[in-house]
């Protein structure tokens, strides 16, 4: 039996029993729906549903490998893009481990040259070192470290949305994406009609793009040679973030970090040797005026590091796209067989995607695994595997099949 057919049949069984958990978006009749099917290259778009019953029945009938709905509201969602009549859109954020430079990617992500079959780890090169081919099959692994770092970005984003933008918990919906990240949706009348350029400003705020610390309390002498004051850690918004990020950076400072910022040698030595004093200074005004020779430009470089650590890494395109299609909650992700799973915002810290998002809870399957690093499903750890036939719980087997790391054994 081929892999696709096997996965399709398991997805079909799942939806037959569980279609009722699919969570419809609000105002369902104003949303566009889209689906990928297991038949190669068949994409269904511009679908509309009047009620959740029709939507669930449709999913049961077509068995999608991926199911989406529009963050946008339309007068007539089934029309072509130009004729839909855009009425507004939820504010949407996508956090994906793909955008986070975790160190473990070099270990678990692999690529394979389509031309000669040569394989390597990490991100695919521009060109195959053996045959100069330029096409690669990439396999990205949702490992625990990647998932944790995505969660950390999601938590930072939530702080922005609640403390800075003033959204309340009931306006924010957090979900595990079903693969390598988190989705955060803000549903509120007041943001619905924001255009793409306003959403871009929100993105810039959250990523710290275009931030100039002189508007957040960094003050110097007229020519900027000396800094006279700067923001403090308990201040709101970016002021506090700048201070906290700077504190964090200086807390674990190494000489190399400062060299990377191309600071003068004398200055580096001074910062390193006065580290203790700098850390103590946060109890009062902070270290801003403490270091001789550190002017506005020097501090801007250090604050640049603070901005990097305090901002949230989001997919900038998703948030500014006011027609975006979003994975439907409690549907299966075709690359993992896991569920997109909503989480209450205040529960995100203790959320474990590898237990809560598991769809297939019964049954086993025997598969032949080509290669897979160690992974966990629920309480159980599997692998690593290399060219081996194994009998696994269905969730683990489906996961490896979806990842194209294994073959079904008849």
């Amino acid at each position: 039996m081929n892999n696709t057919l096997f996965i399709h049949d398991r997805f079909a069984e799942f939806y037959k029993e569980n279609a009722s958990i699919i969570k419809p978006p609000s105002k369902i009749s104003q949303r566009e729906f889209g689906f990928f099917t297991f038949k190669k290259d068949i994409v269904i778009r511009h679908k509309g549903f009047l009620n959740v019953k029709d939507l669930r029945n449709y999913v049961k009938q077509i068995i999608p490998s991926h199911a989406y709905y529009s963050a946008a509201y339309y007068e007539t969602p089934e029309e072509s893009m130009e004729k839909k009549g855009w009425l507004g859109a939820d504010l949407y954020f996508d956090i994906d481990a793909d955008h986070i430079p975790t160190k473990c990617r070099k270990i678990h992500d692999t690529w394979k040259c389509k031309k000669c079959g040569f394989q390597g780890r990490g991100i695919a090169p521009a060109e195959c070192p053996i045959c100069s081919g330029r096409g690669f099959e990439e396999r990205k692994w949702p490992c625990e470290i990647c998932l944790e770092s995505a969660k950390y970005e999601a938590i930072k984003l939530l702080d922005f949305l609640i403390d800075d933008f003033g959204f309340s918990h009931h306006e924010i919906q957090v979900s595990f994406s079903g693969h390598r990240g988190y989705h955060i949706q803000v549903e509120s009348e007041k943001i619905r009609e924001l255009d793409s350029s306003a959403r871009k400003e929100i993105v810039d705020y959250i990523t710290g793009t275009g931030l100039n610390p002189i508007y957040h309390g960094l003050q110097g002498t007229p020519r900027g040679r000396h800094v006279t004051s700067g923001p403090h850690m308990d201040e709101p918004g970016w002021r506090g973030r700048i201070a906290r990020g700077t504190h964090e950076f200086l807390l674990s400072i190494r000489k190399e970090d400062l060299e990377d910022l191309s600071l003068k040698k004398k200055l580096i030595d001074e910062i390193i040797s006065r580290r203790e004093e700098i850390l103590r200074s946060w109890e009062k005004e902070g270290p801003w005026s403490l270091i001789r020779g550190a002017g506005v430009e020097t501090w801007k470089k250090i604050i640049g590091k603070a901005i990097e650590s305090q901002s949230a890494i989001i997919d900038t395109v998703v948030t500014t796209d006011i027609h975006r299609l979003i994975r439907l909650p409690y549907t299966l992700h075709g690359k993992t067989g896991w569920l997109k799973t909503p989480i209450p915002a205040e529960k995100i810290e203790e959320f474990d995607p590898l237990s809560s998002a598991i769809a297939f809870k019964r049954g086993e399957a025997t598969i032949y695994v080509e290669e897979a690093p160690e992974f966990r499903i629920g309480e159980e750890t599997f692998g690593p595997y290399k060219n081996i036939k194994v009998e696994l719980p269905l969730a683990a087997a489906i996961f490896l099949l979806c990842k194209d790391a294994a073959k079904v054994v008849d």
Partner: protein, 345 residues
């Protein structure tokens, strides 16, 4: 809200527009009314002031409410029926700057009143953040709506104190944002269709204004794309995308759009652009051509696209060097400027 007649003379756009226009309509029909003579004169003068001053600036005449108030809707009708976008834009800006200059002299309560008349979600505060005192807290939604055309760094949301959904503003900043709101409201009024049959005397005045001020400005059209292409003058974003495309590296959707629309706009042929993408691993000639033709406007909605602005490229990580292009706001503008310096050398 209680607006005195003096307030309405200062901020005439706050008056019930429908009622004002109805009233003026009636009066316009009876032009022999001598009182109207001075109103029409002042109306034409309002427009003239906006066109003659740079930046456009309409004056405020104290204690002349009987003329200041009705001359505003008359000026609106005149500017609107000029049909000249230049006159309309200039006049709207002139009135908006007039409002700004009056607002910054007002008490905070008055600014609040005017802002509320525009349905702003705003409140007065006396908060000190850092060592700056702020006067107002405004919903970030209203803030973004009114700073859209602003390009100054200090007005970027990321450079503002934003606490629990409110942007903290000084009185002067609030007035500056109100100026933008006024400008938009007046432009909207000017773009409404005028069905009124205007008396010849008024039409003559409008003709005079047009002849004098709108003549050559109307002819300004977009610079024609230069015939030759100079690779050395490409801005860094485009160079980076181009070399990535040529070496077959993966380029994001937005990156491909930016590169394609840029090359089309500087006059590159569709076939030559198709060839650039040829080294891509998933190259599909038919699909690539289709997409390029779409961006060129020869397919689909027929819209001919231009590349995203520098701001947008920065947001999406496609600007490799924030400082390389100086003050320029668009990759095409950067190219034109680089072309000029390139040719001089």
């Amino acid at each position: 809200m209680t607006l005195t007649r003096e307030d309405i003379a200062k901020y005439p756009f706050l008056a019930d527009a429908a009622e004002e226009v109805r009233r003026v309509n009636l009066e316009i029909q009876s032009l022999d009314n001598p009182e109207l003579e001075s109103i029409i004169k002042r109306a034409a003068n309002r427009i003239r002031e906006a066109l003659e001053n740079n930046p456009p600036r309409v004056s405020y005449r104290k204690r002349q409410e009987d003329i200041e108030i009705p001359s505003f809707p008359v000026a609106i009708i005149m500017a609107a029926s000029s049909g000249s976008n230049y006159i309309k834009r200039r006049y709207a800006l002139g009135e908006a700057i007039r409002a700004y200059n009056l607002l910054i002299e007002e008490e905070r309560e008055k600014i609040l009143e005017v802002a509320k008349a525009f349905n702003w979600r705003i409140r007065q505060v006396k908060d000190i953040i850092g060592n700056r005192r702020f006067d107002f807290a405004l919903s970030f939604i209203d803030y973004l709506r009114n700073t859209k055309p602003f390009h100054e760094e200090r007005f970027k949301l990321v450079n503002k104190p934003l606490i629990k959904g409110d942007v903290y503003l000084t009185k002067r900043e609030a007035a500056r944002l109100l100026q933008e709101e006024v400008r938009k409201r007046i432009e909207d009024k000017l773009n409404m269709e005028i069905r009124l049959k205007l008396p010849d005397r008024l039409l003559n005045q409008i003709e005079n204004l047009k002849r004098k001020y709108a003549g050559y400005k109307e002819k300004r059209i977009l610079e024609e794309a230069p015939k030759e292409m100079i690779y050395e003058a490409f801005p860094p974003c485009i160079r980076q995308l181009l070399s990535a495309a040529k070496s077959g590296q993966h380029i994001s959707h937005l990156g491909r759009f930016t590169l394609t629309s840029f090359l089309l706009n500087i006059g590159m042929k569709i076939q030559d652009i198709v060839d650039i993408f040829r080294s891509s691993s998933d190259f599909n000639e038919r699909l690539t051509r289709y997409q390029i033709e779409h961006i060129a406007g020869s397919r689909g909605s027929g819209t001919k696209y231009i590349p995203p602005s520098c701001e947008t490229l920065k947001t999406h990580g496609l600007c490799p060097d924030f400082e390389a292009c100086g003050n320029v706001k668009h990759p095409l503008a950067s190219y034109r400027r680089r072309m000029r310096t390139f040719k001089k050398e």
